[in-house]
């Protein structure tokens, strides 16, 4: 397995055979986009050759139009393909992230790599096997039904000497076979052939914990990241962002960098950058360049007034997707009504390294190397920005410094392309830390209100959950349109936010239930450092922090055990089983709430429950916390997580993915908040935007994988994220008797709340 588009096993054959060039960033200028070469059918989803290739040695290439962001979904795709084709896993090389060789399946998006992307790969591999058996049949003089395959060798059942290999049947040639395609691109893309894929009971590779080969390249310091791409003659660039949000450059004193070798200013409308031949010179020039900016404006409310601003803001859109019964009437007639409001701040992707991209824009074609998790969309955005048709632009994904949604990578790709066009040279852009944290699209701030009506017996007769906040898409989920990037917005593409929010995803059956949201306008229309965009599990942790905290508040109000309360209203047996699995593994027993034995010393202990669903994946968890009365520190000592994502492809990879979700979400719950004043974002580094450090990592994360081999695989890259925040808040309440309804749950907030209690 290799993350490089093509491995050293690459070969080149002419005349109707597969033609694949060795793809090393910087080494290749040819082979563009969807141009057929050497008889290859066009790179469209309705061609089997767009998905599967069998090489002369019988090895297999699978062309995957989604991406792995480090959790190993490419390994899982290899397992799926190996199973369907009946070849050893080691024979399968998954190619991904290069627009020249993969169809746009949406990139990394919504935890759908396996859920959506894997489906087409499974169909394609099954179809390839069907065609290969059809070809083998006359050669072996035996009907297809009498053939069997073992590691790419087709033989006659009962006569193993009558055999032929995949390599002999088709190696190095194209299938030239059409698939049925639903005419969609991105996540919904689906293509299938005539073959019926195997039954889960027939899988032998799926279900194994095959490790990621690329891990070794990483730990020996050999993996090439996008930051390491070098192209002959490239310039290094650094961009300059306005010191206060919303203002633009007025004058630029180019003499201020005249002492720096080769450094010069590149400006296009309000976009300002410096370039130099050496990276350090570009860094120095960006620091030294004197720019006067338009008078400071004050687009933001004072930070302490953020939630008041949201409460009072006008509404750009409103929806109530869940609306059952008559909530208002039921609330009016209720014996008792419970209400609570929760708040979640802006958060940053704060990727490990600032985004980087390299672009080489020529008169009639362009190449961009990007860490974007959606290279096909990066290609489209670059093409529009520089005025080339998309098929003349090739985007190659090279692993970046983390991703987690629409981070700063998409902006860097278009910055690099614009600068390459303006300079006529290949350009490498990497942001500095303050741009990575200060100027990435942010996870949106919002307020969330719960109201529950109870009858005299403590039954829930009405449930109302309403959010109000910034849309999650001031910029779209990808950079396919320059309006959704800083380079575009600074050079005349007006932004156009999409009004979209989120409601809780769960299976509580309340007789009268309403869940809805309202969105408010952005604080600054154009090139805002507080523009919102997708951050890992967009609005998932935000919404479910509130909804699952509120469920616990209702349970507490009626004196119910939090697990028993949830099970009373969750009738869906699959959901209930996950709730029960987490409780059982954690040894959950009924007892009063908050914890009567929380501890008399400085450390109080408590446990909290939480349960959520995300696009078919169900997660329930117990968090056990220690709260230090003196410092206010909350330590999530132990998590017990039950996780049901249907069929499990790679159990160990799944466990590690869940761990990453839990720890990153723990960081967002306890530490993360974008700070700002009236003029600018103030969270610009790891001091002003702290994240979890290893001292605060749990002692243990115990994971129960609920296996459902009969059910289609659903996603795992995000679902456990949304379950964490309320588990912590609920455990904190159990430990202290104090309810905290605002994230992050910092030591200062805990101390203040304890002092008030």
């Amino acid at each position: 397995m290799s993350h490089a588009p093509f491995s050293r096993r690459d070969f080149l054959k002419a005349g109707g055979a597969l033609v694949i060039s060795v793809m090393v960033p910087g080494a290749v200028r040819a082979a563009f986009g969807q141009t057929p070469v050497g008889g290859k059918p066009p790179l469209t989803p309705d061609e089997l050759d767009s998905w599967i290739a069998v090489l002369p040695d019988g090895n297999v290439r699978a062309f995957f139009g989604k991406m792995d962001m480090g959790q190993g979904v490419d390994v899982a795709i290899g397992q799926i393909v190996a199973d369907e084709l009946d070849v050893a896993f080691e024979r399968v090389n998954v190619v991904m992230g290069d627009t020249a060789f993969t169809c746009n399946q949406g990139g990394a998006s919504g935890s759908t790599a396996i859920q959506n992307g894997g489906v087409t790969l499974r169909y394609a591999a099954a179809e390839a096997r069907r065609v290969l058996l059809e070809r083998a049949s006359p050669k072996l003089g035996a009907p297809v039904e009498t053939l069997t395959v073992r590691d790419g060798v087709v033989s006659v059942i009962g006569a193993p000497d009558r055999k032929v290999t995949y390599g002999d049947l088709i190696g190095g040639q194209y299938f030239q076979l059409k698939l049925e395609w639903n005419k969609r691109y991105g996540n919904p893309l689906l293509a299938k052939g005539q073959a019926v894929p195997k039954k889960p009971s027939e899988y032998t590779v799926v279900g194994q914990s095959i490790p990621q080969g690329v891990v070794a390249d990483k730990v020996y310091g050999k993996l090439q990241y996008v930051t390491d791409v070098k192209v002959d003659g490239m310039l290094h660039a650094r961009v300059l962002r306005s010191p206060t949000a919303g203002c633009g450059p007025v004058t630029i004193d180019e003499s201020s960098i005249s002492g720096i070798p080769g450094a010069r200013v590149i400006r296009e409308k309000e976009f300002v950058a410096v370039v130099a031949e050496r990276e350090w010179d570009a860094v120095r020039a960006a620091r030294a360049l004197k720019v006067t900016w338009a008078p400071p404006c004050t687009p933001f409310p004072a930070m302490e007034g953020l939630y008041d601003h949201i409460r009072q803001a006008s509404v750009t859109g409103r929806q109530a997707p869940v609306n059952k019964g008559d909530v208002e009437a039921a609330l009016k007639s209720a014996h008792r009504v419970i209400e609570a409001e929760y708040q979640w701040p802006f958060q940053s992707h704060a990727s490990m390294g600032p985004a980087c991209a390299v672009a080489d824009v020529r008169a009639d074609h362009a190449t961009v190397w990007t860490g974007s998790q959606k290279p096909h969309f990066a290609r489209d955005g670059v093409a529009k920005l520089i005025g080339l048709p998309p098929e003349k632009v090739r985007a190659t994904w090279v692993p970046g410094p983390g991703s987690y949604g629409r981070n700063d990578a998409g902006d860097a790709a278009l910055d690099a392309a614009l600068l390459s066009k303006l300079t006529g040279k290949p350009v490498r852009v990497q942001y500095m830390r303050d741009e990575a944290t200060g100027w990435d699209p942010k996870g949106p701030a919002g307020i969330y209100r719960g109201r529950a009506g109870l009858d005299a017996q403590g039954n829930v007769v009405a449930y109302d959950f309403f959010a109000k906040g910034f849309t999650r898409q001031d910029v779209a989920t990808n950079e396919s349109d320059p309006k959704d990037t800083l380079a575009g917005q600074l050079t005349g593409y007006p932004p156009k936010p999409t009004v979209i929010f989120q409601v809780p995803a769960e299976a509580y059956e309340f007789a009268n239930k309403r869940c809805g949201w309202e969105c408010i306008p952005p604080l600054l229309e154009r090139a805002s450092p507080l523009r919102t965009g997708h951050l890992r599990d967009p609005l998932g942790p935000e919404t479910h922090f509130a909804s699952e905290s509120f469920i616990d508040e209702i349970a507490q109000a009626v004196g119910a055990d939090p697990v028993a309360f949830r099970l009373k209203y969750v009738k869906n047996p699959r959901h209930a089983a996950v709730i029960q699995a987490a409780a059982d593994r954690a040894g959950w027993s009924k007892r009063p709430y908050p914890n009567p034995r929380r501890g008399k010393g400085n450390v109080m202990i408590g446990r909290g429950f939480s349960y959520t669903e995300r696009n078919g994946t169900i997660v329930a968890m117990v968090a056990e916390v220690e709260v230090d009365r003196r410092s206010g520190r909350v330590w999530a000592k132990r998590f017990t997580v039950a996780h049901d994502c249907g069929l499990i492809i790679n159990p160990r990879g799944l466990e590690l993915t869940i761990e990453g979700n839990v720890v990153m979400a723990l960081s967002r719950t306890l530490f993360e908040e974008v700070r700002f004043d009236r003029e600018q974002v103030l969270s610009v580094d790891w001091t002003s935007y702290p994240i979890l450090e290893i001292q605060d990592a749990p002692e243990q994360i115990d994971i129960v994988l609920v296996s459902r081999p009969d059910l289609a695989a659903t996603g795992a890259g995000e679902p456990a994220t949304r379950t964490v925040p309320a588990a912590i808040a609920n455990a904190l309440f159990d430990a202290t008797g104090v309810r905290i309804r605002r994230v992050p749950i910092t030591p200062e907030r805990v101390k203040t709340a304890l002092a008030r209690a």
Partner: protein, 155 residues
């Protein structure tokens, strides 16, 4: 203001021509083409640029190259190789630690120094030694397992 500066990197003696005030990170990456130390923050806050200088974990993004003349610099690449892996590298592969992996220099070169000085560290000692190193993917649990595995005291 450029001068010739001799460096010993991963066992090889080499020379760069650079402003002595330039951070070591840029000398390694731009002048010597050693890409495995990464730019994370430029502020010594994250660890992605870590190298060992005479055995001490050092943030190369804020270390002037002129200050390490003739000193022994070890990058992640120099810690071990598939043929002769450092125990941490073996453990990291066994535990499948990294996700994006961009942070590895900080964690591994810091932990390698810990294990050299404290071959059997406690959980607390490991956490203390690794304070200040960042990982955004949340692989901390696997990091702890790998360091303990490398120390022969698997959790």
């Amino acid at each position: 203001m450029s001068e010739r500066i001799r460096l010993v990197v991963d066992g090889k003696s080499t020379e760069v021509s650079a402003d002595p005030a330039m951070p070591l990170l840029y000398a390694l990456r731009s002048e010597l083409g050693l890409d495995n130390p990464k730019f994370g923050c430029g502020l010594a806050q994250c660890g992605a640029c870590t190298v060992q200088v005479d055995g001490r974990p050092t943030r190369s993004c804020v270390t002037p190259v002129g200050g390490v003349k003739g000193k022994k610099i070890t990058t992640l690449n120099g810690l071990g190789s598939p043929a002769r892996p450092h125990p941490l590298q073996t453990a990291y592969i066994a535990e499948q630690v990294p996700q994006c992996g961009y942070c590895l220099s900080g964690w591994m070169l810091t932990a390698a120094a810990l294990l050299r000085d404290t071959p059997k560290p406690s959980d607390r000692q490991i956490r203390q030694a690794l304070a200040g190193v960042k990982c955004r993917c949340g692989t901390h649990m696997a990091i702890l397992r790998a360091v303990k595995r490398a120390a022969g005291s698997k959790a």
